[in-house]
């Protein structure tokens, strides 16, 4: 090809590109400002609820966790399975092997195709699975989210594992009992801008202003960045900087495990108390060797159990997802639907050496 022709070709390409860009800008177009249309106005609660309706038998209830092969979801889905067998329904658990929203969409489509009555899911992305859920809803399925919510208009009920208040109250109560109601405590958090942890820490500070906690002094908040090594070092640093420290609260599963590992190998073992949010499998050895008295987390089996009952109540017409409606969830008792269709499981479960062996997650 001659240099002349090549030059011509590049010129033409450039011109075409410029024309494309110009036409795209010139004809107004859709911008953030002028795109008035709201994304998918949802139906929160359609039809009227009949509180006296009986739970139907033979309901097809499917659990779609964030991913399969994840111990946390295996436990919660098994809780769902228990509930579904109690109400004589058909249980099914499906899910992607990697926690991605796009593969969840393909599973939601499949479940909708199979004519499920209820889809119980934990969303990998609050928006990405919305379209598929709305399609499934239009095809007649009831949608319950648990653990991780979608936008409220994409589901009927969200079963929330715990409120921030419940978590803060439990943590403060645990550490207060363990250190005898008086002394210096510190918090070992995740990252400095972690939304959940910051909300909990703020509520813990409020909780500590109550008269019964007046002798407890929160001296500092350290950040282990949810990194095992960093959390380990931060724990070490806390104990060196605050020789009078009586207790540590670590409201993150990575932090609490790292702190427990440091304490169990140090002179502070059993003297400086540690509590937080952890999983029984991570913490079992530290509870048994006396490093940790008790820690908390919601019980994922109960979470799945409640989600299954919420779905069955929806599919039977007992509730529609509107605020104030009530339904009974088997052994867990009665629940009331809150604002935006949220049902709260209740205060976190406390794990200590007496009950820890009953849990495997």
């Amino acid at each position: 090809m001659s240099a002349h022709r090549r030059g011509f070709r590049f010129g033409a390409t450039g011109l075409a590109l410029a024309a494309l860009l110009l036409s795209a800008t010139a004809c107004g177009g859709t911008t953030r400002e002028n795109s008035g249309d709201d994304s998918g106005a949802g139906n929160q609660a359609s039809g009227a609820a009949n509180p006296d309706a009986k739970i139907k038998e033979g309901l097809k209830i499917a659990f779609l966790p964030k991913q399969v092969n994840n111990p946390y979801f295996t436990v919660s889905d098994n809780g769902g399975k228990t509930a579904v067998s109690e109400i004589k329904g058909e249980f099914k658990e499906v899910g992607p092997s990697e926690a991605s929203a796009s593969s969840q969409v393909s599973y939601i489509n499949t479940l909708s195709q199979q004519g499920m009555d209820v889809i119980v899911t934990s969303a990998n992305d609050p928006n990405a699975i919305c379209g598929a859920l709305n399609q499934a809803k239009a095809a007649g399925a009831k949608i319950v989210t648990f653990d991780s919510d979608t936008k409220p208009e994409c589901r009927q009920i969200f079963v929330n594992q715990a409120t921030a208040e419940g978590i803060a109250e439990t943590q403060v109560k645990l550490i207060s009992t363990q250190i005898g109601g008086a002394g210096e405590i510190a918090v070992l958090s995740a990252t400095a801008n972690a939304t959940n942890q910051n909300a909990w820490i703020e509520l813990m500070r409020q909780e500590l202003t109550k008269p019964e906690y007046s002798k407890i002094n929160l001296v500092t908040v350290a950040y282990g960045n949810d990194d095992d090594q960093k959390s380990f070092q931060e724990t070490q640093g806390l104990l060196q900087s605050y020789p009078n420290l009586k207790g540590i609260i670590s409201p993150t599963t990575v932090g609490v495990a790292a702190a427990a590992r440091y304490l169990s190998g140090s002179q502070y073992k059993g003297k400086v108390k540690l509590t937080g949010l952890g999983t029984p499998n991570q913490m079992r050895q530290y509870v048994k060797d006396g490093t940790v008295d008790a820690f908390a987390l919601w019980n994922p089996a109960d979470l799945g159990y409640l989600a299954a009952y919420a779905g069955a109540a929806l599919a039977s017409g007992q509730v529609t997802g509107a605020e104030g409606e009530k339904f009974t969830a088997g052994k867990l008792g009665e629940y009331t639907v809150g604002t935006d269709g949220v049902v709260v499981l209740g205060p976190p479960t406390v794990f200590d050496k007496n009950n820890i062996d009953q849990f495997d997650f």
Partner: protein, 354 residues
């Protein structure tokens, strides 16, 4: 086959040229039969699934199946051409992710119109592909290493662009358009650009001198250069094309899931490579065609969809994909090997008359 050509001495005698020609003919036959085998497997899979899997043969399911396949089909087109030249682009899924987050960030903060953003994203995709192309052709580095590098680099950058946030407030008219069907059918509109691009790539590969040059490069870079083909320039533009298609897929992905986020399309590159190899393209370059790849993409999609509807669990699905990948690499080689051996025996049995 690459190892054939790698060890092929320059043709010195007439007999050797003849044998090479015979081998080529044998290869062409093997290629034809692989294409046919994939198409037959596809037809068989559709029929079997239609009969035995409940809810498979419905309009709604066709829509779901095709929508899931659009990104895979688009990415497989340039990948086919790249693999035929003996290179590979493993960065496609990360490029899609980066294009998606760039689209999200531009929509979030630039105030530009979505039409313009889409054009920009395709251009940016092309630029990302050009980086691959530059390293491979300009610096002569192996594409496997380069694109594994950009696989990590682009994924990392996409988390730099949006962090762990997601941009989701795209206009509903756009996100609905991404999943809309052609009126009166259950075929998504998004299939149309896929078919058009498949046509373009098909024509380039099978009906132009550039296409023939791609096969020549895959068989022997040096021979292709001696034959007057500009190997570096052609490969460079293939990587640019691959990047631009990634930009398109990034736009589609973002709109279909109404969510621009850093982990979009993670891991998709392996499915794309699987589809291309399943379609009969040799991983060593120089062999394969677009029809087989399209059939391979569809076969992969039908299998996943049908198995999922039949409640086969995710681990088994992964195993099936892996097994298909291995089978598609091993089988054509085994077939070609057997053919070559038979051919040699026949030649020995009937010596050419002096």
């Amino acid at each position: 086959m690459a190892h054939d050509s790698l060890y092929a001495a320059p043709p010195s005698t007439g007999a050797e040229t003849e044998r090479a020609a015979g081998r080529l003919a044998g290869l062409r036959a093997a290629l034809g039969s692989w294409d046919a085998a994939v198409v037959a497997a596809l037809v068989l899979a559709v029929l079997l699934a239609g009969v035995s899997v409940q809810n498979f043969a419905t309009g709604r399911n066709v829509q779901f199946l095709l929508l899931d396949l659009v990104p895979l089909a688009l990415l497989a087109l340039p990948m086919t051409l790249i693999v035929i030249t003996g290179e590979i682009d493993l960065s496609v899924a990360s490029t899609v992710g980066l294009c998606s987050t760039l689209m999200g960030q531009l929509w979030l903060s630039s105030g530009l119109s979505l039409e313009l953003i889409c054009v920009l994203v395709v251009l940016l995709g092309g630029a990302l592909g050009a980086v691959n192309g530059l390293f491979v052709t300009g610096f002569g580095l192996p594409s496997l290493a380069v694109t594994i590098g950009t696989l990590a680099l682009y994924r990392g950058l996409s988390f730099v662009v949006l962090g762990d946030q997601a941009v989701a407030d795209f206009p509903a008219s756009w996100t609905a358009a991404a999943v809309r069907n052609i009126p009166g059918t259950s075929i998504p509109v998004a299939v149309v650009p896929v078919l058009l691009l498949a046509l373009v790539f098909g024509v380039v590969l099978h009906a132009t001198s550039t296409g023939r040059a791609l096969y020549a490069m895959g068989n022997n870079d040096q021979a292709a250069t001696f034959a007057g083909v500009s190997v570096a320039r052609t490969k460079f533009w293939l990587f640019v094309a691959s990047g631009a298609v990634c930009g398109l897929v990034g736009i589609f992905w973002t709109l279909r899931y109404a969510s621009a986020r850093g982990d979009n399309a993670t891991g998709l590159e392996l499915t794309v490579v699987t589809a291309v190899l399943l379609g009969g393209v040799s991983i060593f370059g120089g062999r394969g065609g677009l029809l087989g790849v399209v059939a391979g993409v569809l076969l992969l999609g039908v299998l996943r969809n049908a198995l999922q509807l039949a409640d086969v669990d995710a681990n088994a699905l992964t195993i099936v994909t892996g097994a298909l990948l291995i089978a598609s690499v091993v089988l054509p080689n085994a077939v070609a090997d057997v053919r070559a051996r038979l051919h040699r025996r026949r030649q020995r049995a009937n010596p050419v008359a002096p």
